[in-house]
């Protein structure tokens, strides 16, 4: 693959030039004629009975076009466990509960109308701690389930239990064991573009929905189901993405505000926009969920892991979204990060009156890896083995089948650990305890799709027009990761065109083919594989047309010449050179015989061939277009949470040097090496962008970010009090890109969207331990926690 022209190059994002000129249209900028503005009224209590909602004053406010409450919309449940309604009319269970909504001719009037809605509540006892919520006498968050059956506990009916091997046997085989409890907290995805959507029905009741979703087809499905449940079965829905200002997990579920927007549009027969404020983004979007892990591990005298046993308790909040299924991803690092024969992992999701949770970059992996990698260091110390060496002893290797039945194909973990070690100057620096220290953490993640749904497929359409321009209709979405550039590089490479010949359309259910969504770091892998397959077909079509048309083109050229110059003698050409498609190839938009690429007559522009094929005459004209649907040979997890859900896996190691100020507790990251086995970098510059960005969010997760909830209320819903890292918080990230090539990946590539975030926080915690000898077991690792631990240690 050494003679690749575009794959592996740092092709710039020219295709996205509108983003640097202010012309890119985000949901904020989308305006339709006659559009109304929707606003939502949220609960005043974490848990209360609604006694009365009086919207009469709002209804008569000039400029208001609709006021919705739970009393004037269909009483239909939505969500993963169907445990909530769109607007709440009887009980509110969290501060973000949507109680009423308004559509008006301006956002200001809509806001004013909200103030006029009077809601009377009767407060109910609430519970904010999942452990408390599990107790028998705890207030019940839900009294009945979706079918109306009584519920007696706050524990969700989602038993996440994974067992492999024999823990007791593992314990017996252990020379050393450690057990500890670690915890992680709520963090906000902090997309710079806030949430929003625009809904519009036509007079046939078909819906066009401008949504930021990263799962356009699943989103469409959910909306169709909702419409059908409110008596609009069979109506079509077209979901279209605007330019999206970041996603990081927030766009995986269809949020309640989206259903509200649809209802307002239906009621008013006008396009309606809902756009979140930053405060709403913090208060009313589901964040990454907190978890508490108890983790126990053992190893034998040689340092080989003997068992891993972990229990997790997840604060689900008041309703169920994609936060509750993160254990299905947590099980991956729990069972398969490093070789461990005996594994037990149980996770319990508990309803509380806190904000409900959703997905965030890495899904449950950062939480679980914080537990595993903190414990790995503790066990290494117990066994008296250098933590890097300990990881190398237990590293995953190609050919392994893990206890979860993951089939490890390509695996660069050994390289990752070693290169981080070397870059950090590990052996020199470790164990000095002089306020500076080094630590590492590794990761495993899906990198070849993730069969979460029965179809993990990706559909792609590639067409080439008579000007030699390629349009690609990609079923996925782009939330900023750079897919338009990456895909255009792969298409150009596969077809023999240039990246600038390719235009991309993503995120439109009306034009594109099914894709399971741009999540789980799957887009490059899945869309790339679909692209390669579609391009194979397109290329074949072009070459077949070339076989037909090159002789015609050449001969008509000769005829013309003869007309102009009677003395012209037609050269004697060997037409067998171009008599079969397999004798031909395309490069730089030129078709030519492989045996004589510079042939003076047979080297012809593709556009000319397509033009000639299109304008032939009745019944003979042809177009060049192909689709491919790639659905990898993977399996869904079975009831025991086992199965090879991804075609390949990402591995990586983050190594960090920190300096800890023992007087202030402040932690400074001096160096951060992020080594990732990426298979093959399709675009090294964009790929590094993913690693930088993910490592930065990981560093924030480790050190500063935390949504502070007090009795269910978010206390820091702004960027002053919620500490996202700024450009002044320098984290010197240096990516180390390891490219062993993956046999199933397009051009050898694996997914890299999420991995960089995953091991960052535990690497920081481990480095702090190396620096000052205290282990901080809860995220984020604030100066206060470090100081308290240092004080405790001195006692």
């Amino acid at each position: 693959m050494s003679n690749l022209l575009y794959v592996g190059k740092g092709t710039p994002r020219t295709i996205e030039v509108d983003k640097v000129t202010g012309r890119a249209i985000y949901i904020n900028d989308l305006k339709l004629p006659g559009m109304l503005y929707g606003k939502i009224l949220y609960s005043d209590y974490a848990h209360a009975r609604i006694k009365k909602i009086d919207a009469s004053k709002a209804e008569v406010l000039p400029g208001v076009r609709a006021v919705l409450t739970g009393h004037n919309i269909p009483d239909v449940r939505v969500g993963f466990l169907r445990d909530q309604t769109v607007l709440k009319k009887d009980i509110v269970r969290q501060f973000r509960d949507e109680v009423a909504a308004v559509a008006a001719i301006s956002p200001e009037i809509a806001e004013e109308a909200l103030d006029l809605i009077e809601v009377e509540y009767e407060e109910l006892p609430a519970v904010f701690d999942p452990i408390e919520a599990m107790k028998e006498d705890a207030p019940l968050i839900h009294e009945v389930d979706a079918r109306g059956k009584p519920i007696r506990t706050n524990i969700l009916p989602l038993p996440w239990k994974f067992y492999a091997g024999d823990i007791e046997q593992g314990r017996k085989n252990s020379a050393y064991t450690v057990k500890d409890t670690v915890s992680t907290t709520w963090v906000n995805q902090c997309c710079m573009g806030t949430s929003g959507c625009v809904a519009e029905f036509d007079m046939n009741n078909d819906l066009t929905f401008h949504s930021q979703t990263n799962v356009v087809f699943l989103g469409k499905q959910r909306i169709m189901e909702y419409l059908s449940s409110i008596g609009m079965r069979g109506r079509n829905v077209r979901v279209i993405n605007p330019v999206v200002g970041g996603s990081f997990g927030t766009k995986l579920d269809t949020d309640i505000y989206e259903f509200i927007c649809i209802l307002l549009a239906l009621r008013t027969r006008k396009p309606v926009k809902i756009l979140f404020s930053r405060e709403e983004e913090f208060r009313a979007l589901p964040p990454r969920q907190p978890a508490v892990f108890t983790i126990e591990q053992g190893c034998d005298k040689e340092g080989r892991l003997t068992f891993r046993k972990a229990e997790a308790i997840l604060d689900n909040g008041a309703y169920t979204s994609w936060g509750a299924t993160t254990p299905s991803v947590m099980v991956m690092p729990m069972s398969s990060l490093y070789r461990v024969p005996n594994v037990s992992f149980e996770a319990t999701c508990v309803y509380t009156n806190n904000i409900y949770c959703q997905a965030m970059r890495g899904y449950g992996n950062p939480q679980a890896t914080f537990a595993v990698e903190s414990s790995m260091d503790e066990l290494a110390e117990e066994a008296g083995i250098d933590p890097a060496e300990f990881r190398l002893i237990n590293r995953n290797q190609s050919g392994d089948v893990t206890p979860m039945r993951l089939k490890i194909t390509s695996c660069g973990l050994e390289d990752c650990i070693n290169s981080v070690k070397q870059k950090l100057n590990w052996s020199e620096k470790r164990g000095k305890r002089k306020g500076k220290g080094v630590g590492m953490g590794s990761l495993i993640h899906v990198a070849g799709g993730a069969r979460v749904y029965k179809s993990d497929g990706h559909g792609m359409i590639v067409k080439v027009d008579q000007n030699g321009h390629i349009d690609v209709l990609d079923g996925g979405t782009d939330q900023g990761q750079g897919s338009p550039t990456i895909i255009s590089q792969m298409v150009a490479e596969a077809l023999g065109f240039r990246p600038e010949d390719v235009s991309l359309t993503l995120g439109d259910t009306g034009l594109c083919l099914w894709d399971a969504g741009t999540h789980a770091s799957r887009h490059t892998f899945m869309a790339g594989n679909a692209a390669v397959r579609a391009c194979e077909k397109v290329k074949q079509q072009i070459l077949e047309l070339a076989v037909e048309n090159i002789p015609k083109v050449v001969k008509s050229g000769f005829r013309r010449k003869k007309r102009n110059d009677p003395d012209f003698v037609e050269p004697d050409l060997d037409y067998t050179l171009i008599s079969k498609p397999e004798y031909l190839d395309i490069k730089d938009r030129m078709v030519f015989p492989k045996s004589d690429p510079e042939h003076p007559f047979f080297r012809i522009e593709v556009s000319q061939i397509i033009r000639d094929a299109l304008h032939v005459g009745t019944g003979e004209s042809k177009v060049v277009m192909a689709e491919a649907f790639y659905d990898p040979p993977t399996e869904m997890l079975d009831r025991e949470l086992k199965g090879n859900l991804s075609c390949t896996y990402a591995f990586g190691t983050t190594g960090i040097e920190v300096e800890v100020d023992e007087k202030t507790g402040e932690v400074k990251i001096l160096q951060l090496f992020a080594a990732h086995d990426v298979g093959k970098a399709i675009n090294p510059i964009l790929l590094k962008g993913q690693i930088y960005g993910a490592a930065y969010i990981g560093a924030g997760y480790g050190l500063t970010e935390e949504m502070k909830l007090e009795n269910g209320r978010v206390m820091n819903p702004n960027f002053l009090d919620y500490k996202m890292l700024t450009a002044k918080d320098v984290v010197p990230v240096e990516p180390i890109v390891i490219e062993p090539g993956d046999e199933d990946g397009p051009f050898g590539a694996k997914g890299i969207g999420e991995p960089g975030l995953v091991p960052t926080a535990p690497a920081i915690a481990n480095a702090i331990y190396d620096a000052v000898g205290v282990r901080i077991k809860s995220l984020p690792i604030t100066p206060e926690k470090v100081l308290a631990a240092l004080k405790e240690k001195r006692k």
Partner: protein, 160 residues
């Protein structure tokens, strides 16, 4: 609602806006002039997505009262490319060096960087980071943004 009439220079053109005096510069730019470049990421002066240049200084237009713009000169991302469509070195550098991902912070980021480079075409990394300290970005980890601004500085210095 009572409106005021505010005259100023917007991207080189003399303009007058008739808007309520309570409006911010950002609201005026987005709603009166229908510019989509300046973005609202917070509306409270904490994210920098709305950054524009007023009389040579980068400001958060979301908290900049429109009456204060009277007689001043305002530049937004829409006004920095040449009239013939040639991109400003910053715009070029952001594309070339992957300084843009989702792009939501980009307009503001580039405007802060422009204000910096206009005064100091050869800033140190630290000066660059200070220059964009008020511009939050969730996608890039700032690394390639800083690199883009460095490269743009080089381009500008070469031209001079």
């Amino acid at each position: 609602m009572k409106k005021v009439s505010i005259s100023f220079t917007l991207n080189g053109d003399k303009v007058t806006a008739e808007v309520p005096p309570s409006w911010t510069l950002l609201k005026t730019l987005r709603e009166y002039f229908e510019l989509t470049g300046p973005k609202e990421g917070c509306g409270t002066g904490e994210c920098g997505a709305c950054t524009v240049i007023v009389d040579g200084k980068a400001v958060n237009s979301c908290i900049f009262p429109i009456p204060e713009v009277e007689g001043k000169s305002v530049t937004t991302i829409e006004g920095i490319a040449s009239k013939d469509g040639t991109l400003h070195p910053l715009q070029k550098a952001f594309i070339e060096n992957n300084g843009v991902q989702c792009g939501f912070c980009t307009s503001g980021m580039i405007m802060s960087a422009k204000a910096l480079l206009d005064h100091n075409p050869d800033p140190t990394e630290d000066e660059i980071r200070t220059g964009i300290a008020g511009n939050l970005c969730r996608c890039t980890g700032y690394v390639q943004i800083v690199a883009s601004i460095e490269k743009a500085g080089e381009l500008i210095r070469q031209k001079k």
